[in-house]
Symmetry: C2
Subunit: 380 residues, 2 copies
Amino acid sequence: MRAAESGDPIMGQLVRAYGPEAAVEIIRSGTCPEEFADRAVTADGREVAKDQLDRRIHSWRTRLTQADPEADLAFGDKAGARLIIPGDSEWPTQLDALGDTVPVGLWVLGSADLRFSCLRSVAVVGARAATAYGVHIAADFGAELSDAGWTVVSGGAYGIDGAAHRGALAGGTSTVAVLACGVDISYPTGHTNLFAAIREQGVLVSECPPGVHPTRGRFLIRNRLIAALSRGTVVIEAALRSGALNTVSHALSLGRHVAAVPGPVTSEVSTGCHRLIREGRAICVTRYEEVIELVGDLGEDLAPELRGPVVPLDSLSEESRRVLDAVPARTGKGPATIAVAAGVDLNTVLSCLGSLAAAGFVERTTAGWRIRRARASRPR
Amino acid sequence: MRAAESGDPIMGQLVRAYGPEAAVEIIRSGTCPEEFADRAVTADGREVAKDQLDRRIHSWRTRLTQADPEADLAFGDKAGARLIIPGDSEWPTQLDALGDTVPVGLWVLGSADLRFSCLRSVAVVGARAATAYGVHIAADFGAELSDAGWTVVSGGAYGIDGAAHRGALAGGTSTVAVLACGVDISYPTGHTNLFAAIREQGVLVSECPPGVHPTRGRFLIRNRLIAALSRGTVVIEAALRSGALNTVSHALSLGRHVAAVPGPVTSEVSTGCHRLIREGRAICVTRYEEVIELVGDLGEDLAPELRGPVVPLDSLSEESRRVLDAVPARTGKGPATIAVAAGVDLNTVLSCLGSLAAAGFVERTTAGWRIRRARASRPR
């Protein structure tokens, strides 16, 4: 964990090939086995030159000599954090999907069980510079998803992330904040109280050892964990160059669901969401039920259908509607006149007028039929 | 036009089978030819019983005896309206797509040529009870489409329709209002001035003869003309039961393009738009260029790609970015320390620091390398 930067695919390949302990020995020896050099590839599958590989192993060795694992464990212990590794009962197995970039281990701090929390989980991510609209939606989605038993995974940042975590804390379910720094560090500092609350009801997670500060690169690398820990990612407000879109790329490449919440087209921080929807990379969602329908179990977690108000007019036959259209509003008219206006024959008009009167749409006056004035009063 | 209600598919079949003049003779005779009775079908393709057909022809005959075509023509003439029929040079041939519900004729009032106006045209429709947001977008889209030489077709109603027409009038191009009443009637009356302006720069169109008032049924029937006259329909704000969605259904069944503008998910009048997008029935559009890309000519009317601001950081290699992340902000540090923090070897750090300094990201102090304070000043 100290030797390479998180998510280094070459380190991942070394650990997968030899196991973590032998990998450490190889790094200490400073020379890369020939057989490994032949098959090491970059994240995009290109071969790695032997001298490049040697340089990288050399730099890992330098970092390793300065690392103090015992001190890290003691420091983590003091902070109340626990270190989990693949195979542990708390290890979330969906991380295996990350392949070469599976973390070597994770530092976890909080009362909830990480693996259990992530069984039914949704990532809710978005802009730090969110609008009041976005914050409102994120808090609502967070609370509603949590109420429905879904864990909200996010990055603990200002804006959408923070609002989603806060909403989730208001519901009864765990929430997971994946940090780009040690779990003992409150970054941003304005979220110190939020992180304390997450430790109570959920968990803070990081692949950085305690005490490590965030860097720009670590935020991007961290995003793959947010995507991999959850069944799907929902973006609420993202500008065209938002980090949330980086999380979306990870989710898509992992084959996870992606949803985006639309907003006013005049809002810059909805541009990224609209583009994802336009390009078919994200499903348009407007309610938390639609999120659950997307990430939930087939046929079990369907969103209730939206319906407009049912207007009695809808229940009318086409002929009755045409007759109703032809009935005058004020001075009554006879059925024959109405029949001509409606373009139907007299018998049809008489039967339609009867049922329209019964339904309270029209009334008969001495002058003839007309639209009934007050729906509440009885026909005269 | 006076005998049947507009859009009656049986009348359409009669006129298609025998031509309009023979159709009038058949209606006057009151008996339906056997051969026609055998093949008359409803809008959804079901057979029509002979007695039902006779009743319908009988009601048409009654209306026909009360019609006064000469008076209609004289009245239209007085109002300045012209009657166009299929085959006329002003007839918009894209109406042929309507099949059995092609209008028998259209009343047109205004300075523009209907056929020419509709060659490059987009329907912009939506809620009458629009929000300030929707009205703003409709006016913007209307003006921008018009500026780009596209005719805006709409229904002349309050809300989105009116705003789209007004926007279009601000541009230089014709706009077409398809009415559910005679072209001489200002409905809604609050749009009297708007209709006057449309007559100046565009056209008012209706299949109702002058003097005919709107009914609920006529609005729905009218919607098929809005869809058929344009290459595509854009919905800006529509509740779940909006009439605009009826226009969309017509556009889809005619194989025309459909687009919808998203809005806040908290806005009831955006619900219909979001549902269309979610269900894949409409493309999500956020700018008028995207509308033109949809309805315009393949490869010619592409929307310019949206780009976020280009940050110089993006041009950095992965290694340079890691080195930059490892450079301290205040007290300078030596290349060896930075190499360990960045996880790269010393040679790489030295070359990266050189280019980072050249690009103005870092600076060298007596204590070592650090982040350059003011990007505007020269490195010390």
